[in-house]
Subunit: 461 residues, 3 copies
């Protein structure tokens, strides 16, 4: 067993962000946002190795994870109901006219950067050549090349949403069967080792069952997801390598919900629109969208109207207890960068998504993918290191199922950047990013257009 | 110093669960419940070794622990008070008749699987033979053979509640004195090493003081618990080993409380009963049971009626600040499986328990224990590995003091199963379990009868 | 890469604490307080080493950290609004007269002792002699000798507040440039190695930019802090070493706030005073102090009165979004204990502080420091180990910016104690402490006078 790892430290600067500056948010990087600065995105320690000829352990933890309610950048606001309190406040601080709102938000000092599991699996080999294996535990789901490629090796700072929205942290808990011919196993290893940005070995053929609620989440609907993947890397006589894959999964997903005040215009710049004299205008407090999936009749589908909020022994299953249909299929094509590289992936499917009136979550169509071109340049003249200039375009239109209320997201993003490796253990990446995205983190899920300068320093150990 | 560890991945299936399916819950395994699937129960990494001749370090962390508010399977329900919100809801989603309840629950996506201390102690030896030592830090409390035996070696998936309810995670923070004669030290080690399911060396004689509020909990009543244990393993000439122990502890425990709506029938199938025209029927909101222990007069026992909820500088000590009496004594008898093994433990005592009207927590009598028979079969003919078929019966009637409001629990459970070790580093266990238990996790603390198929895959490293 | 670490286990006893016993609280040790007992203050594991000639990794984690809402010793109180519930309660438990308050507090069983990052940085060296380096990541801020000295080596249990209030956990996330001449680098190392309680090497000259919101906290105002430090250790011919330093930082800090009921008398024994017929007397519920800093106009300073609590898409920036001015300068003088040692530090500045009416947080002057005298005695006659008797006086008057609402704190404390090292890997410290301090942890931020006996057992590995 040996220890290794890597750390990613980031700095994101919003160059321009339109009128709705505070909507510049992405799911994959909390330091994309107003008022942000240095940020530790990943802090990994990996304990791995062959325990015996038949058991290989991989145990990766991330020390930059946030427990519930930690590290929030959102201020909470006190309701303007405490008139006497406001009187004291305005008496001593005549900044604003009285009466009025409390004018004050509150930031929490709850800290982040705690240690959380990423991978924890055992590969159990059946044969001496280690061609056949069962992987038990939490592992990456064999769906999408970019998902399987380590963040340590990826050029772009974040994965493309089209494929990445399939799986929380790319991982889930389950059982996976994999088959890799012996020579292909060595090829997969070399594609990473030779700095060709490979995916690692997740099987030429892989099949798995897993919970489907996301990495480190507890199961909520007893329904497993099924996934299958076939990939074939081909080595030309001149050493050039190309790889093609097809993969798909199917299952039912129980969305996570949160009370919102519904409005119209989701995933557009005018999101938050409330028509005059509509039912929306008189809503008194936020509420939770309805999950429009089948119940769980075999366990007794409870008549909720018999249970009020007073009753602490209310039903344990929410409406739509079996969850929403969640199925996708994806294709992948890769030319490894020797020196010119090209990668493209696309997926289509159906998944949970908040409806246009923001009152229910339903199964909706989705599709999207990306194309990335890169070039590997080793500076042999001056020995300054290795350079990977690249350009990436991504598109997605569909639900972000792991965000609260599974809002619709529309993504159309260009990244132009370069990864520079002055030393094998040190990488610096700078990217100019033009984003046209939906803020799926908070209602009313408004579209934003922004230009960012993104930088990352990575050290490997 | 060296690193080692083990992981337990589980799958529990409820074969039959009677009318109150959603009450099938146990304290020791959150994946025993409706809508569950794969689950990581333990993910351990142990850093241990001799720092010098006089100091031994043992630092065990569990990476599958849940921080507060994480990984909940319970849906929260919005109160049906927002009439205008409901109007919007029913206007766009005419699933249920209006007016009515909101019909929607909400699941949190707060993740689990964070790293938390299990053991962190230093053994300080006074003599060269390491017979006398003081253990400082968080360690297992020397009470009960099954508590001391590692989960890595236990046959049954969970410890018997009768003894295990003594101590949260079997551990607490304190100082422990231990004496083990040199040869017995080697014997304790061999009983584990030779796959005989030993307890490890917690002293032939042990005495300790500890906080008593449970592992990783902060002290609340300044009152230490005292514990003492004497155990004697005897080796017969034919190599057979038997062990007998007696142990006891005493102290005061400050219960953890949570607002509930009280009702009658705790620990029976009709729990939750609210008689017509009783005071129960008109309760407006949930409230917290009274802790019926002595106050903390030496620090000034505050007159609570002078402090309202408005006052954020209210008193820091709750009623019953010294806690509830908590004392037990237990006996142990063990025949090690060479090949036939038998183990029995029983304990009697008094401890915190919610009263029958669910309005106060008081000191009540408790008793219970278990008997486990096992057989060790090494397949030398075909070399398929080692098999441990076993049967276990457990009984308990008393308070679950570490659960909120320390409810009464009645346990009568049969387990029949087999642990199979195809490789030394790999174990698979399958158990048929017939449970007659109280759901001590949530009010009204109802009794359930259920049959389960329980499976576990464990890998050691 | 190698693993090492240390653990500190504590026991604090309040010998006398005046009338307001429950105000005996300090920011630096949660086991200073009523009803406390054994406590794990630090549980460290450090992964460090040279990755290559140009990269050094230091990754220190603390496993005794508390995630949000964990390990609280404060009871929460139910509001006396549920008349029917109280009727049930008093009907079955006639302990107090009815009608009245609920008389019951509730303790949470949320556990602590989770793993959190302390240091995570890469030292990138530019020259062969490693004199010039850039440190990227989370590291100690080069401000104050005692801050830089490891807790593993410090004599007093806690750092002096005057300097330590500069930085949460002494650390922050940023980029630091350091220059140390080669021989001085060896000197810094030896001052630690030879048990002379050195600070380690943070550069003869250091300059840094960092977020400024504290270790493991997310940035809130995009404004970096700047820090610079110059230190010069001088070795006399007889081997005696003295060191002098000057350091300073400047930036803007966004305070963390929490609703309180305001009152007069902060940082005095009569804190909590509410004059009759004043606006204070009729305050209905707690509210949040106003942050009196400039807004964030370049991002659009939102007109908050347009957003109510209903609107979940309210503004993301609170008032005073750029934060409060936060600048300090400090001087240091050290004589290393060969055998007599002396250390003194003092700092002056301006920083966030709650005003006297407890309604707004403003920039206020602050100053304070400490003097510590120690003596190193090696028992060569009987070989019982090394003794460090010491006495320390500290003073501070200023804001505790990292505590909620940045209350004013006045500290005047004497410590007399001894650190005893029977073995190199084992330390025991006993201290008599006379405290005259403000309880900055909870409103109304009352002053207390107390005598404590404080003990610590530390083991190194």
């Amino acid at each position: 067993l040996s220890l290794r790892g890597y750390t990613q430290m980031r700095y994101n600067d919003i160059l321009s962000g339109g009128p709705n500056y505070y909507d510049v948010r992405t799911t994959n990087d909390r330091s994309v946002g107003d008022r942000q600065n240095f940020f530790i995105r990943r802090a990994r320690i990996i304990l791995s190795g062959d325990v015996s000829d038949h058991l290989y352990l991989y145990f990766q933890n991330d020390f930059a994870s946030s427990p519930p309610n930690a590290n929030s950048t959102s201020a909470t606001f006190a309701a303007p109901t405490n008139a006497a309190g406001q009187a004291v406040y305005y008496f001593y601080n005549p900044v604003f006219a009285f009466p009025g709102y409390n004018q004050v938000g509150s930031y929490s000092n709850a800290p982040g950067n705690f240690a959380q599991i990423r991978d924890l699996y055992a590969d159990i080999y059946f044969d001496k050549d280690k061609e056949f294996r069962v992987r038990a535990g939490q592992s990456k789901i064999p769906y999408g090349f970019e998902n399987l490629q380590s963040s340590q090796n990826r050029l772009a700072l974040d994965r493309a949403d089209a494929i990445n929205t399939c799986c929380k942290d790319e991982r889930d808990l389950g059982l996976f069967f994999m088959y890799t011919p012996k020579e292909m196993r060595h090829l997969f290893r070399d594609l990473v080792k030779n700095n060709l940005k490979g995916s690692g070995d997740y099987g030429m053929f892989a099949f798995g069952v897993y919970n489907g609620q996301g990495a480190n989440r507890i199961e909520l609907n007893k329904g497993t997801h099924l996934v299958a993947r076939f990939t074939y890397p081909y080595v030309f006589e001149n050493g050039q390598v190309v790889e093609a894959s097809v993969q798909g999964y199917t299952g039912r997903f129980m969305p996570y919900t949160q009370a919102i005040r519904p409005s119209l215009g989701m995933a557009t710049n005018w999101a938050g629109f409330i028509p005059l004299n509509s039912p929306y205008a008189t809503v008194g407090s936020a509420f939770v969208p309805y999950v429009n999936g089948p119940g769980w009749s075999s366990l007794g589908n409870f008549n909720f109207s018999q249970y009020g909020a007073v009753n602490t022994w209310g039903p344990a299953v929410a409406n739509g207890g079996e969850g929403i249909r969640d199925s996708r299929v994806a294709v992948t094509a890769v030319i490894y960068p020797q020196p010119f590289g090209l990668r493209a992936e696309w997926n289509w499917g159906v998944g949970p998504q908040l409806n246009a009136t923001q009152t229910a979550i339903e199964a909706k169509r989705l599709n999207g993918g990306y194309v990335e071109a890169s070039y590997k340049y080793e500076d042999k003249d001056f020995g300054t290191g290795v350079y990977f200039p690249f350009v990436k375009w991504q598109y997605y239109n569909g639900g972000f199922k792991f965000d609260n209320n599974a809002p619709q997201g529309r993504v159309n993003e260009w990244d132009v950047g370069v990864e520079y490796q002055p030393l094998p253990e040190l990488e610096f990446t700078a990217i100019y990013s033009h984003m046209d995205r939906t803020n799926t983190v908070a209602a009313p899920y408004r579209q934003f257009q922004a230009d960012l300068l993104r930088m990352q320093l990575q050290w490997n150990y």
